[in-house]
Symmetry: C2
């Protein structure tokens, strides 16, 4: 995601997966779709090889709190803790400056 | 990287690569090693598949500015723009809150 009015917020989620899918892929797809419908959602970046990094971008901290407390998302967080991740870490960040391809 | 004293700063670098290596891997290795020697460097997370995400963590904004202006890093930025990336975006963020595995 790029070049939105500043400041906005980023949630950096880093994780290591356990072996096997165990329903993870379906839930990840569902969470991505659901996330996009939430108030204040601006976009998402994701990549995974040795570790997974998912960054979601939000207009306000309250939008992030509301998404964290969403019923279906709480269930996904619980299953992540129980089954899908051997490690995870969440960082809540304020995006203060941004530049890109056309702004070197 | 996880669980450092707050606040600290994160640089989120997202990119898409051009085809071929063209010296990219050697430079990426060199930049990672050089980065670790810089004042205020706290750690780094990286993953790439469809897009690449590299997040470096720093104690202060001045540490980030100094790294951006490092002579060898400037040359890497120039080559990235010329040869290695078809897209990139940089976000400078203040990490305001963090929790992880043992702190659900």
């Amino acid at each position: 995601m790029q070049l939105t009015e500043l400041p906005y917020y980023a949630v950096i989620f880093t994780s290591k997966r356990t072996a096997g899918d165990n329903g993870y892929s379906d839930m990840a797809e569902r969470m991505e779709a659901l996330c996009k419908d939430q108030t204040g959602f601006l976009g998402m970046d994701h990549a995974r090889n040795e570790i997974g990094i998912t960054i979601s971008y939000w207009k306000t901290l309250d939008d992030i709190k509301a998404w964290k407390a969403h019923t279906e998302h709480l269930e996904a967080q619980r299953l992540g803790y129980e089954k899908w991740y051997s490690f995870y870490n969440v960082k809540i960040c304020k995006v203060e400056r941004e530049y890109g391809w056309d702004q070197l």
